[in-house]
C-alpha cells in the first residue's frame, strides 16, 4: 500500500487536434466576454463606478461624434500601415523591432524636404521629393540590419531596436537645427501659411487620403504575400532556411529584398504622418506604433486582412481607455489596467484553442483509493 498517498495528478494538459474554425472563434468570443466581465468587476470594486457607464464611455470615445470616428479611423490606418510594413519581415522570422526608427527617418526625410526645398521647388515637386526620400530613408534604415544579418548573421532583434535610438537622436538633432522660433526646442507646424508639402486632402476630409492609401496597401500586401513569388519565398525562408537553400532560394537576397520593402513601407508611414496629418516632426510622432504593430501582427497571425480587426481592437481600446480616465477622473493607469486585462484574455485564449485540459476522473479515482 505504499502508493496509497500517491494520486493521479489533478490536471494534465494534452494537445488538441485542429479545432473547427467556429469552435475556435467561440472560444475567442468567450474570452472577450469574460474579459469584459472581469473589467466590470474590477471597475466596480476599485472605483465604485457603474461598469456599464464605463463601457459606454469607451464606446463614446470612438463613436460619439463624427470627428472622433474620423480620428479612430486615422489611428487605425496609421497603426495598420506600420503593421503591414512589418509582416513581410515577420513572416520571414526576421524580427524587425525597428519600425519606429524606420518611420522616424521617413518622417525626418519628409520634414527635410518640406523645409529645405520649399523655396526652391514648386509644391508638386516638393511632394514628389518627399515621397521618394521618405521611402528611400525607411528602406535604408531597414536594410542595414538585413545586410548585417545576411553577411554576418547578426541578431536582427537587437540591431533593429538599436537603430531606433539612432533615429530618435537624429530627429532630436534636426529639431534643434530647424526649431521655430529659435530656442523653442520644437519645430511647430511646418509651412503653416503656404501649406507647401502638405499632402492633398480628399473631399475636405483631412484623414481620408491616409485611410484610402492604407486600404489599398492592405490589399496589395495580401496579394503580395499570398499570390506573388516573392511572398512564397518569404514564407519558405521563414519556415526553414535549409529548405530554402535546398530548393535554390538565395536566402541572403530574400532577407535583404524583404527588409528593403519593409523599411520602405515604414518610411511611407512616416510620410503620411508628417506630410499628411501632423505637418510637424517630433521624436514621439510615431506614438509607439512600431511596437504596437508587433502585437497587431501577432494577434492576426501575420494575416493582413485580419490585421484590420486587430488594429481596430487595439486603437479602440486605447482611445476608450483615454476617455474613461478623463470622464471619470480616473488615473490613466486604470485604463491601462483594463486594456491589459482584455489583451491578457485574448492572448491567453489561444492556449485553450491549442490545448485541452483534462481533470482527474473522480469515479476512477475512488476505485483506486480502496485498493
Amino acid at each position: 500500500m505504499r502508493n496509497e498517498t500517491k494520486r493521479e495528478p489533478l490536471i494534465h494538459i494534452t494537445r488538441r487536434g485542429m479545432l473547427p474554425w467556429y469552435r475556435a472563434w467561440a472560444i475567442r468570443g468567450g474570452a472577450i466576454a469574460l474579459a469584459l466581465l472581469v473589467c466590470a468587476l474590477i471597475t466596480t470594486l476599485v472605483t465604485h463606478q457603474d461598469p456599464l457607464a464605463v463601457f459606454a464611455s469607451i464606446f463614446e470615445a470612438s463613436f460619439s461624434t463624427q470627428r472622433r470616428t474620423w480620428i479612430l479611423f486615422q489611428n487605425i490606418a496609421m497603426l495598420l500601415s506600420v503593421s503591414l510594413a512589418v509582416i513581410p519581415a515577420f513572416r520571414m522570422r526576421f524580427w524587425n523591432l525597428g519600425a519606429e526608427g524606420q518611420m522616424l527617418v521617413g518622417g525626418l526625410a519628409t520634414a527635410a524636404c518640406m523645409i529645405c526645398l520649399r523655396d526652391i521647388f514648386p509644391n508638386w515637386l516638393v511632394i514628389v521629393c518627399m515621397v521618394i526620400t521618405s521611402i528611400a530613408a525607411g528602406a535604408v534604415w531597414g536594410v542595414i540590419p538585413a545586410l548585417f544579418k545576411a553577411k554576418w548573421d547578426t541578431n536582427e532583434t537587437l540591431f533593429t531596436l538599436m537603430m531606433n535610438y539612432v533615429a530618435i537622436q537624429l530627429v532630436s538633432f534636426f529639431i534643434i537645427v530647424w526649431e521655430v522660433p529659435k530656442g523653442a526646442g520644437k519645430i511647430g507646424i511646418i509651412n503653416q501659411s503656404t501649406e507647401i508639402g502638405w499632402l492633398p486632402t480628399i473631399g475636405g476630409q483631412k484623414y481620408l487620403l491616409n485611410i484610402i492609401i492604407v486600404a489599398v496597401l492592405t490589399v496589395i500586401m495580401y496579394i503580395y504575400l499570398r499570390y506573388a513569388k516573392h511572398g512564397y519565398e518569404i514564407s519558405v525562408v521563414g519556415e526553414s532556411e535549409r529548405t530554402a537553400r535546398y530548393v535554390g532560394i538565395q536566402v541572403d537576397k530574400v532577407i535583404i529584398r524583404t527588409m528593403l520593402f519593409s523599411g520602405a513601407l515604414c518610411g511611407l508611414t512616416g510620410l503620411l504622418l508628417v506630410g499628411g496629418t501632423d505637418h510637424t516632426l517630433t521624436t514621439t510622432i510615431t506614438g509607439g506604433r512600431g511596437f504596437t504593430a508587433v502585437m497587431v501582427a501577432w494577434l492576426a497571425k501575420f494575416n493582413p486582412i485580419w490585421m484590420i480587426g486587430t488594429s481596430f481592437l487595439l486603437v479602440f481600446l486605447e482611445r476608450g481607455a483615454g476617455q474613461i480616465s478623463t470622464s471619470f477622473g480616473l488615473n490613466q493607469s486604470f485604463s491601462d489596467i483594463l486594456t491589459g486585462i482584455i489583451l491578457f484574455f485574448i492572448i491567453g485564449c489561444e492556449f485553450f484553442i491549442n490545448y485541452r485540459i483534462a481533470f482527474r476522473h473522480p469515479g476512477k479515482n475512488g476505485g483506486k483509493a480502496h485498493v
Binding site: A228, V236, R242, H361
Partner: protein, 564 residues
C-alpha cells in the same frame, strides 16, 4: 517458463486530441524474459512505453508493478519503481566522463571513486565495455548506448525498455548489445525492446507482443512464430516480405564522382578522396555508420555543400546537341573546339583552324556543330539553381524531411510548388499545376490526408515521405538520391518506397540509396558502396554480398583488419 510478472498494464487508453494512440491496451512484462514490442509506425509502441517511464500519463487504465497498482506521474516515479528507458536519442553530456554522466542528477554525496567501482561491477556482471573515466565525446555510438544502459542499471532499474536500440549500430555492435541483454535476462531483469527489424526479434526475444493502430493484437512466444506471421499481425493482412531486384538494363555511367573532398564549416574532413560512378538503371546503395559522410556526399552532389577538391561529372543521356553562343562566348567555343569537344553531323571532329570569326559564327549558328552534352557537365561548385538551369534533373530526398525537403506548416500544394514555383506567370504564383500534381500523388501513392490544403506536418511519417518522394519523382529525374527514405516508416510505406525506387531504376534513372538497414540494402541495391569515416571502404555487388563483411568494412577501410 513461468516467470514472475514485473509489470502489468491494464486497459490503458491514451489520446492526443482526436488521435487515439493507445486503445484499451493490456500488456504483461515478465522477469527473466526479453519482450519484443512490435508494431508499425503510429501503432502506439513508444507512447505505451512512455507511459511506463512517466513521460505521458494514461487517460484511463491502470498499471501494476510487482502486482501492486502504481501511479507513474513523472520519470522520477518510474525510477523509484525500477523502470528505466533507453531512448533513441542519447541524453549524455559530451564533455563529462562516463562515470560523471552516470551519477549526474543523483542525490547524496558525490564519490566518483566509489561510483567507478560500482560501474565496473555492473560492467563485469553483464559484459559491458565501458571505461568509467572515458569522456563521452571520445566514444562511438555503441559505447554511448552502453553508458545509457549502465546509467539506468546504476540507478537500480530492473525493468528496462529500449526504444529501437539497433537503429544506429553496425552488425557487430548489435551482436555485442544482444549478448549484454541476454546476460541481463539471465540475471532476472525484465527487458522490453521496441523494434522494426524482424530478424532481430527472432534472434533475441523470448516473446513478442504486437500492437496495431493503437490496439493490442496479441502476444506469443517467439519460437512459436515466424517473421511472416508477425508481419501479418502488424499489418493486419498478408504481405509479401520480398523486395524485388530487377536486373539493371543497359547500365551506362550517369554520374561520376572523382576524388571528392569536403570539409565541414569547422574545417573537419568529412569526405576524403571519394570516387565512384553511378550508372543509369541501377540502384547504388550507400552503407556506413551514421555520420560517415553520407549527408555531405549527397549535399555536395546536389550543390548544397562547398567542395574542397574533386569533380562531380554528370553524363547526360541526351546524345548530340548543337553548340550555341547562348551559354558560351566565341573564345570559349574556339577553346573547346581545340580540345576536340565538338563534332559535325557525321561524327567527325570539328576544327576551326584557319577560319575567320565570321565563318565560325555562321557555321555554329547553322546548328551543324554538335557536342556531346555529357562531356562538359561538371557540377562542381554549382548552386542548386545553376544545376537546374543546366537542365540536369537531379532529385534529392533528404534525410530531414520536414526540416529540409518539405515545409511542415505549408499544405501539399505549396510543398509541390517548392520545386516548380519559378515557372508560370512573371511575379505571381501558379497554384493550379502544383495542386493537380498534389492530387495525382495522393491518388497514385495512396497518401492518407484530408486534402491538398492540410499542412503536411499533420500527416503521418509514411505519408509525409510519400509526398516528398512523389514530388521528387514527378520532376522526371536522371539521378535520384534518397537518404534514409524508409527511416521511421512502417512496412507498408517502406515497400511502397522500394517499389517507387525500383520503378525509377527500370526507367533508366541512376538511383543512390543511403540506408541504415543492411538487410534492406542487401536485397535492394545492385551495388553497395561502403563509407567509413568519410572514405570509400569498398564497393561490392549487392547480389551475394555478405552482411558481416560489409559490417567490417563499415568500421575499417577495406574491412580486412577487424580484430574479431
Amino acid at each position: 517458463m513461468s516467470n514472475a510478472i514485473a509489470v502489468e498494464m491494464r486497459h490503458i487508453t491514451k489520446r492526443f486530441g482526436p488521435v487515439v494512440a493507445n486503445n484499451d491496451v493490456s500488456l504483461k512484462i515478465r522477469r527473466g524474459e526479453i519482450l519484443a514490442l512490435l508494431g508499425e509506425n503510429g501503432s502506439g509502441k513508444t507512447t505505451l512505453m512512455n507511459m511506463l517511464s512517466g513521460i505521458y500519463f494514461p487517460d484511463s487504465g491502470e498499471i501494476l508493478v510487482n502486482g501492486e497498482p502504481v501511479v507513474i506521474a513523472s520519470p522520477r516515479d518510474a525510477f523509484d519503481l525500477g523502470i528505466g528507458m533507453i531512448h533513441q536519442h542519447f541524453k549524455l553530456v559530451d564533455v563529462l566522463t562516463a562515470a560523471e554522466n552516470i551519477v549526474l542528477g543523483l542525490e547524496g554525496k558525490l564519490d566518483l571513486k566509489a561510483a567507478s567501482e560500482k560501474i565496473a561491477g555492473i560492467c563485469g556482471t553483464y559484459g559491458f565495455d565501458v571505461d568509467p573515466s572515458q569522456k563521452i565525446y571520445d566514444m562511438s555510438v555503441s559505447q554511448k548506448q552502453m553508458v545509457e544502459i549502465v546509467k539506468v542499471l546504476y540507478r537500480g532499474a530492473d525493468i528496462l525498455i529500449l526504444d529501437e536500440p539497433t537503429a544506429v549500430l553496425t552488425p557487430q555492435e548489435t551482436d555485442r548489445l544482444f549478448a549484454v541483454l541476454r546476460n541481463m535476462r539471465e540475471d532476472g531483469k525484465a527487458i522490453v525492446i521496441i523494434t522494426h527489424k524482424m530478424h532481430e526479434v527472432e534472434a533475441l526475444s523470448d516473446r513478442v507482443a504486437v500492437l496495431r493502430q493503437g490496439s493490442y493484437i496479441g502476444d506469443m512466444l517467439t519460437k512459436d512464430t515466424d517473421a511472416q506471421e508477425m508481419t501479418n499481425m502488424m499489418v493486419g493482412r498478408s504481405v509479401s516480405l520480398n523486395i524485388e531486384r530487377p536486373e539493371p538494363k543497359d547500365p551506362t555511367p550517369r554520374l561520376e564522382v572523382k576524388d571528392l573532398t569536403v570539409r565541414s564549416a569547422e574545417g573537419v574532413l568529412r569526405l576524403d578522396d571519394v570516387s565512384f560512378t553511378v550508372n543509369g538503371g541501377e540502384i547504388l546503395g550507400i552503407a556506413g555508420i551514421a555520420g560517415s559522410g553520407q549527408k555531405e556526399l549527397l549535399e555536395a552532389i546536389s550543390g548544397l555543400q562547398p567542395i574542397e577538391r574533386g569533380d562531380i561529372i554528370f553524363h547526360n543521356p541526351k546524345k548530340d546537341k548543337p553548340v550555341t553562343f547562348f551559354h558560351k562566348s566565341m573564345r570559349r567555343v574556339r577553346e573547346l573546339a581545340k580540345q576536340g569537344a565538338f563534332h559535325d553531323r557525321q561524327g567527325k571532329p570539328v576544327s576551326f583552324d584557319g577560319m575567320s570569326l565570321g565563318a565560325i559564327r555562321k557555321w555554329v549558328e547553322s546548328g551543324d556543330v554538335l557536342f556531346r552534352e555529357d562531356e562538359i557537365m561538371d557540377l562542381k561548385g554549382k548552386t542548386p539553381l545553376e544545376i537546374r538551369s543546366l537542365g540536369v534533373h537531379l532529385s534529392f530526398v533528404p534525410e530531414d524531411r520536414l526540416g529540409m525537403g518539405l515545409v511542415g506548416n505549408m499544405d501539399m500544394t505549396d510543398n509541390m510548388m517548392l520545386r516548380s514555383y519559378r515557372k508560370g506567370p512573371e511575379g505571381f504564383l501558379d497554384r493550379r499545376h502544383p495542386r493537380a500534381l498534389a492530387e495525382q500523388i495522393i491518388e497514385e501513392l495512396e497518401v492518407v490526408t484530408p486534402g491538398t490544403s492540410t499542412p503536411v506536418r499533420r500527416l503521418s511519417g509514411g505519408n509525409v515521405q510519400k509526398v516528398l518522394v512523389g514530388r521528387e519523382i514527378a520532376y522526371a529525374p536522371k539521378v535520384l538520391m534518397a537518404a534514409y527514405p524508409v527511416r521511421g516508416l512502417d512496412i507498408n510505406s517502406s515497400y511502397t518506397i522500394y517499389r517507387l525506387l525500383n520503378k525509377q531504376k527500370e526507367q533508366g534513372v541512376a538511383v543512390i540509396y543511403v540506408g541504415e538497414d543492411l538487410d534492406v540494402l542487401l536485397e535492394l541495391a545492385d551495388r553497395i558502396l561502403v563509407l567509413c569515416g568519410g572514405r570509400v571502404s569498398g564497393i561490392v555487388p549487392g547480389r551475394g554480398a555478405d552482411k558481416r563483411e560489409i559490417g567490417m568494412m563499415m568500421t575499417h577501410i577495406g574491412g580486412q583488419k577487424d580484430a574479431e
